[in-house]
Symmetry: C2
Subunit: 519 residues, 2 copies
């Protein structure tokens, strides 16, 4: 029995039947296509139970013009980040306030410094960027704006899950179309998704570059580094399999066992011991799907990361690109002149990118940072109407509130609205600089039907569009970037009930979904 958000039953029996049909379809497709998370805690030596990822039952409307805008912007956005990630001086200037306050920054920057001291032997980098957006449309605003949530540069997850759920919706829309004829919810309103093949194309491009430039006797291979006790194998394995199908050997190695499985030669070649053969293989590309939490770096993880980074293997992505994904960097790019620094030749793109920014600022000790600190600690309005305190943006009428973000990936770490003030008060003020404050996006609610492990939900929902960029570039001597590949690699689309702040499907917030593009 499906209940509406307001606990009203869906009264029409035919609608109930159709929803039940769709629910059964989605459940079975989860099992058949592997839209699953491993229940690692229940794994035994011989069995591996799994549960379904959260998924929508019906595609959720999303304005086509904004979807198109996000797709069209992606290459400029990726070029921006490729250039940011190739400008260590600017990055250090931006990130330096984190020093001694943000442990993860300290670890990664130390890795970078060790790499610089050792002398980088690989100037080619690749990355799967995922640029997350929501629609911003406060109640009194007629125009739906595309606003950036964040740019993910490291170990972006969800690509394979997103593709599978998109394909389920494409299939179910095909079934509907076949019966009822084309309509506004036709399968043609659902964009195609080729996430996995895009990522594979990019890794293959990097592999080919490495192989052609390093004609050593060693056979080459790609390594995917993963977390131990990994529940998200169904998101990673399709990439590995597709690489083998393209005749590229690809091995997945747990972060903690990388030390015993690899050696670094004196000329910085990274060698891998494969499970069966006696001959070591040379690692062409190192694709990180682990190494994004501080716990992975102590005690020996830092040395491991240094070994990997100073190797000749092409990193997906390298340490600087990892650092470029910090929220602090995202905030710095909203500052006057920042975009122009990196895209001096693209004034139109600068304007278009800037239009996607929300107000955002690291709580550092710069004048602007101090102003945001004052905003964050202005009690009377509990941060629900802070914009009136910002001279530069006096007229923000939305009052959607603010969110405080640490430089951490993976969801579940943000602090919202009225919780910010007590949270900051619980932290030493000299460490506030590691937090970035961002005006909250106010998405217009649409209607959706979601199937999460906690239950079915039918009612008001909001969605987040992530656009994948698959890029390969070469750092030039003396700065600058030579772009080898810059493709729109696909998309992820996640939907959650209105009122849920976080968005991480694997952690139980939100569901994978498919946008139904509408005018």
């Amino acid at each position: 029995m499906i209940r509406h958000q307001d606990d009203h039953l869906i009264h029409c029996q035919r609608c109930q039947d159709q929803l039940q049909y769709l629910i059964n379809e989605v459940k079975d497709h989860h099992i058949t296509r592997g839209s699953l998370l491993k229940l690692v805690e229940h794994e035994t030596e011989s069995s591996v139970p799994a549960r379904a990822v959260g998924a929508s039952i019906l595609p959720t409307p999303f304005p086509k013009a904004r979807y198109d805008e996000a797709i069209e912007l992606q290459q400029a956005y990726c070029e921006l980040y490729m250039r940011v990630a190739s400008d260590p001086d600017w990055l250090y200037k931006v990130l330096e306030p984190l020093k001694n306050h943000d442990r993860f920054f300290d670890v990664l920057w130390e890795v970078y410094e060790k790499v610089r001291e050792a002398g980088a032997v690989q100037n080619v980098v690749c990355c799967v960027f995922r640029n997350d957006y929501m629609i911003h449309q406060p109640p009194d605003q007629s125009e739906a704006e595309l606003k950036q949530v964040e740019m993910n540069t490291f170990s972006c997850a969800g690509a394979a899950h997103a593709e599978r759920i998109a394909n389920v919706h494409k299939h179910l829309a095909r079934v509907r179309d076949c019966e009822t004829g084309p309509s506004s919810s036709s399968s043609t309103a659902l964009p195609s998704n080729g996430n996995v093949s895009s990522i594979v194309d990019m890794l293959q491009t990097a592999h080919t570059i490495y192989t052609s430039r390093n004609p050593t006797p060693h056979q080459k291979c790609i390594l995917i580094t993963v977390q131990p006790f990994n529940f998200n194998v169904a998101d990673e394995r399709p990439i590995e399999l597709a690489l083998w199908d393209a005749n590229i050997p690809c091995y997945r190695v747990e972060w903690r066992t990388l030390v015993s499985h690899t050696t670094l030669t004196s000329d910085h070649t990274l060698l891998f011991k494969p499970p069966f053969g006696s001959a070591e293989r040379e690692v062409s590309v190192l694709y990180y799907r682990g190494g994004y939490v501080i716990e992975e770096y102590k005690p020996s993880g830092r040395e491991l990361r240094i070994r990997l980074e100073i190797s000749r293997a092409i990193k997906c992505p390298d340490i600087l690109t990892h650092l470029a994904g910090f929220k602090t960097v995202q905030a710095a790019l909203t500052e006057s002149g920042a975009l122009e620094r990196f895209l001096p030749d693209q004034p139109e793109n600068v304007q278009r990118i800037r239009r996607t920014f929300m107000h955002m600022q690291a709580l550092d000790t710069t004048p602007r940072g101090r102003h945001f600190r004052a905003t964050a600690t202005y009690e009377p309005c509990s941060l629900n109407q802070p914009a009136v305190h910002m001279p530069s943006q006096p007229s923000d009428p939305g009052g959607g509130g603010w969110v405080l973000k640490p430089n951490r990936d993976g969801g579940g770490h943000n602090v919202y609205r009225a919780a910010i003030l007590p949270f900051l008060r619980s932290q030493p003020e000299e460490g506030w600089g590691k937090y970035t404050m961002m005006q909250m996006i106010e998405p217009p609610a649409t209607e959706g039907t979601l199937m999460a492990s906690e239950g079915l939900y039918h009612g008001a929902v909001i969605s987040e569009l992530g656009v994948l960029g698959t890029c390969v570039w070469e750092r030039k001597e003396g700065g600058g970037v030579g772009v080898v590949m810059n493709e729109v690699g696909g998309w992820t689309f996640k939907t959650k009930p209105v009122g849920v702040d976080e968005m991480s499907v694997v952690k139980g917030f939100g569901c994978f979904d498919c946008p139904m593009l509408a005018d």
Copy 2:
């Protein structure tokens, strides 16, 4: 830690590491490819947990010559069964002793009689046959013989699971080959598997025949009838999806809800109400994946089956082909002259097929049946050396014993060796005719590594090869068969520890596997 059957550890650390690598691979592939069974008892309205099917960790050796023999025999075997299933008089003669003793026969034969009375309007039939074999090689026999276990004609399961596990082994062999170079365990020693596309090709062929011969205004569709609370969706869904990909609408309907979802017109057209559209669709092909247990026929299942069978839809398979899968029929085909009756034009195939037969006889009241009854109830040797009592086969040296089989599908119903005598004594003697006694095949044990839900097993194993035949045929006026399609559709391969009698992966006996063909 992997233990050998004799509880010896596998001592070589490298071997242990490689096995652990393979186990992790197989587990992850299970989740990623959907080699899963739905845990129906734990299903909620919004979640659907699943567990992995049993699978081997390494391919299991199987003699290439016997594999080739099974493949080469398949078309003749299928032609035999197509002809058997088109000879109701012979079938009735063979099955008549079951009357009033085998409830399932009574139901199905009544269905057949109602269909005959109503007048069949569809003379095209299709079927996925699965011919199961084991290798017979008693200890003192040098030659490995191919022996038939049974011919399945109705609702054969496991095709998609078999294909997925075969592909996992192909992939893992590719990984090994890539590291160590070709060897006797190379991926080339593993046969390819295209089960799903073969079944889909057959259904598509039948659909095309129906559509071309019935140019009605109704849109056509294929129906798959399934059991409720179905745990094996991952075996069925790929077929349905592939049909949609071939632009053939295909719906899956639970057996018990078929009544409300279909109507039969006065001209025997079967119409289906699709979930979304208002226009009914005409069923071209009815693919049974349910309806194989007596419980499904009471109280209303019999009327439903009659409605389906008298419809114009092409049945996969029809009632007579269903009946042709009875063990009683299999035993009757071992009788002198039976093969010659159906394959009078193929003396060579008759010989080849007969060589695959084990001694087998329904415990009916014919002279031969009475002889087998005497054998079955000869106490001193508890059926372990019964062959000495068979004048026609006095020299059976194997002493592998006997198995008693009811006319039921799905595993778990057989009675083995010494258990036969007390079992028969517990049954009224007039009903013994519904059981078929078969000399047990004595497969030579090979070594295997299995991952079933109960645990890992490394040790002596035996395997069963199932060969799929995908067939479409037309019954001719006055008897006879016009074969439209008779293809070797692929194979299943299941392996179990020595000492386990039953073979049903979904019920926990045995594991899906891939043969490693060896000289």
